[in-house]
Amino acid sequence: MDWIFVAFIVFSTIAILGSLMVVLQKTPVSSAFSLVLVFFSFSGLYALLGAHFIAALQILVYTGAIMVLFVFVIMLLGQDQPTSDLKDSSLLFKGITLLGAIGLLNVLLQAALSSKDIVGKGVYTEEKINEMGGNLKSISEVLFKDYVFHFELVSFLILGAIVATVALAKRKNSLSGGVS
């Protein structure tokens, strides 16, 4: 049993348990912190897969940016009270949903299992990546050559998101009197 496998077991266990906690925790703050746990373990999983760049980004973007945003909003809205929304829904609804979810899991897992025997046909084998000078270099090679147009498009998306957020946040005065 090599250490990589051990690390995998550890990370994946944390990830699954953490995500369960995200869903089951009563206070949003606890959910948020469980989510941080999940993000970290995912980052580890990426690293195990050799995607070091993504692993780094995972920490930066998710844990650094998104989670801060979440926690900030939770504080802003004062959502620190435990909620009972899990118990509100009817048993039938939960049953059907769980059944569906398990069915979905079954399908997905079958699909995952079926990919066990796939032999990769791409050019970027581990050796090739090492030869090119590591994960980061090879990714930037692809990203700024083949995907440069998409990359630029994404910047527009982010710009749009910024504008949208600002617009949403600014509507305070106009909205307060209108709807309710």
Binding site: S89, F93, I96, T97, G100, G103, L104, Q110, A111, S114
Partner: protein
């Protein structure tokens, strides 16, 4: 000179008066009766002169030459079907044109006086001209659709003139009745055209005459045409409109409902006479219908109180005579009677108009009497007409009527029954005409005092046509020479004259001192209940059927079916709406379930694909 002129002048008159009418209503000015009347009369006289010109053209010519075709323009041309708008003049149509334009001119002239007080004389005279135009189209048309144009056109003019005083709803309804009943007959005409086109391939009247159709088709065709004629010429079963049509102004009754339009059936039967000869069944039906109509109308006439109604039933009766003549194959006699009848019946109608005019719209003969002193010209001319219709020699009616009676016995299609009926009708005719004459002119006066004081003879413009028509009624009979007298014709002639005189004598004796209202049989007065029967059976029948169709099929099935459809759509919408609970979570759940099932369904195939790809 062209025969187009015959029809053109009335058209021009119609247009001039019509436009004058429209302009006058626009400007609100009043048009004098004289002006409009002179224009209209002038148009008719010109038309008459053209007809006379052609009469002299034809005179002395051989029969082959007596045919003028004038192709005006190509009317309908579609595929193999080609129809020209063409006029055709032959002796028959010339005779009718002469009657229409001649008698028409006189009646136009008479109308100037009669319609003096009318509010819109231009309209009236334009209608009269329109009628003459259409009637001339009817007799001069070379093809069946062209005749049909006139046929429907005169119906239209008749409708307009019957309902001329359209403030009175009764009169309007009478006009509508006439139009609709005519249209029932017209359906026969239409279908006859289709039959002719199917089996002859042409609608030209001469081509149809010359064609050789199978006996059955000939029977169908002639039967349909005859049906059309019963509508226009007020024969059984479509005769009830004519008495009602008396709602129109009296000159109109004289022109349309006595002299010209109602005789167009006789014209048409004459037109297709070569085919009628080939269809003996139809001939005998025509004869029976004719004589029955004549008889029944005569009976009804005996019980009428309205002077115009009596004349109307008398017209129906005389038309029956004409049909009888056609039915026994004596087409010439029928046409001859059309002519003499046009003279004397127009005369009598105009005379009646003169009386009505003098009495301020009084039409009940039991409120008249003793008018012979106050209306001398009217009386004298009316007596001439009376003598003519009775068939007293040498008045015109004698010649035509007796020829028909003789033919009804002697012709190969005639028989004793027809003869007896005809004779009986002649007897009745003499009775009721004498009744009318005596009650109006000779018996003691039964008028209201204030009416009596204002009675005066009509102006010259009205009496002049009376005089002319009286002269024509007197001498009209000599224009026709009947050939091939049978040995018994003398005998029949004497019999019929004797019968008429006896009957007239009885009638004279009975009514000469009448000073109260006669108690007539209501059943007979109301037209033997036939009119009521039609009203109840067809009039109400149509209403009931239409209401029933509306109620059961339209509202019951169609609309409710439609309602059901809309309901079904709304219902299914409501059912689907119940899935929209408004909770995001439920929507998500549904999405997952649906996505899952789709996934399973699709992945079945894709997984195979993946496996194959993997290998």
């Amino acid at each position: 000179m062209s025969i187009l002129l015959i029809v053109l002048f009335p058209l021009i008159g119609f247009l001039i008066n019509g436009i004058r009418y429209i302009i006058s209503t626009k400007k609100g000015t009043k048009i004098s009766s004289q002006q409009s009347g002179m224009i209209a009369t002038f148009a008719m006289v010109l038309s008459f002169l053209v007809s006379v010109y052609y009469y002299f053209q034809f005179n002395g010519q051989s029969n082959e030459v007596k045919l003028i075709d004038q192709n005006l323009f190509s009317w309908i041309k579609i595929g193999a079907f080609h129809l020209d708008f063409a006029l055709r003049l032959d002796p028959l149509s010339l005779l009718f044109s002469l009657i229409i334009t001649g008698v028409g001119s006189l009646i136009h002239l008479y109308s100037i006086g009669y319609m003096k007080e009318d509010a819109s004389p231009a309209k009236y005279f334009s209608y009269l001209n329109l009628f003459c135009f259409m009637m001339l189209n009817l007799v001069l048309g070379s093809s069946m659709p062209h005749v049909f144009l006139g046929w429907e056109g005169v119906g239209l003019a008749s409708y307009l003139l019957i309902g001329y005083w359209n403030l009175d709803v009764e009169k309007v309804m009478a006009g509508q009745k006439a139009f609709v009943m005519n249209r029932i007959g017209d359906l026969g005409f239409l279908i006859a055209m289709f039959v002719a086109y199917k089996y002859v391939g042409s609608l030209d009247l001469i081509e149809i005459q010359k064609s050789t159709m199978s006996p059955f088709v000939v029977t169908v065709f002639t039967g349909l045409v005859f049906f059309a004629c019963t509508g226009k010429s007020a024969q059984i079963p479509l005769f009830t409109w004519l008495p009602d049509a008396m709602a129109g102004p009296t000159p109109v009754s004289a022109l349309i409902h006595a002299a010209t339009m109602v005789t167009s059936g006789v014209y048409l039967l004459n037109r297709i006479s070569p085919l009628l000869i080939q269809a003996p069944q139809v001939l005998s039906v025509i004869a029976i219908v004719g004589v029955t109509t004549a008889f029944i109308a005569a009976i009804i006439a005996c019980a009428q109180k309205d002077i115009k109604k009596i004349l109307a039933y008398s017209t129906i009766s005389q038309l029956g005579f004409m049909f009888l003549a056609c039915g026994v194959g004596a087409f010439d006699a029928g046409v001859f009677h059309v002519m003499t009848h046009a003279f004397f019946k127009a005369l009598m109608f105009l005379g009646a108009g003169s009386v009505i005019h003098a009495l301020h719209e009084e039409q009940n003969i039991f409120k008249m009497g003793g008018l012979s002193k106050k209306l001398p010209i009217t009386t004298i001319t009316f007596v001439v007409g009376w003598a003519a219709i009775l068939g007293i020699p040498p008045f015109s009616g004698f010649f035509s009527k007796d020829e028909i009676i003789i033919e009804s016995l002697n012709s190969p299609y005639g028989n004793q029954v027809l003869f007896a009926m005809a004779l009986l009708t002649a007897l009745l005719t003499a009775f009721y005409m004498t009744r009318l004459l005596v009650l109006v002119f000779f018996s003691p006066s039964r008028m209201d005092k204030d009416v009596e004081e204002h009675v005066h003879e009509s102006p010259l413009v009205m009496t002049f046509p009376l005089i002319v028509l009286a002269v024509l009624s007197l001498i009209g009979g000599f224009w026709h020479h009947s050939e091939g007298a049978h040995e018994n014709s003398q005998m029949i002639m004497i019999t019929s004259v004797a019968v008429a005189i006896l009957s007239a004598g009885f009638s004279f004796y009975r009514y000469r001192k009448f000073d109260s209202e006669e108690q007539t049989n209501n059943f007979i007065e109301n037209g033997l209940g036939i009119n009521n029967f039609y009203n109840n059976f067809f009039g109400k029948g149509v209403t009931i059927v239409s209401k029933g169709l509306f109620r059961w099929i339209e509202a019951g099935i169609i609309q409710n079916g439609l309602k059901f459809c809309t309901w079904a759509v709304e219902f299914s919408g409501n059912v689907l709406k119940s899935f929209q609970v408004g909770s995001v979570q439920v929507y998500l759940m549904m999405m997952v379930l649906l996505g899952l099932s789709l996934m399973i369904w699709v992945l079945q195939g894709v997984m195979h694909g993946v496996l194959i790809y993997g290998k």
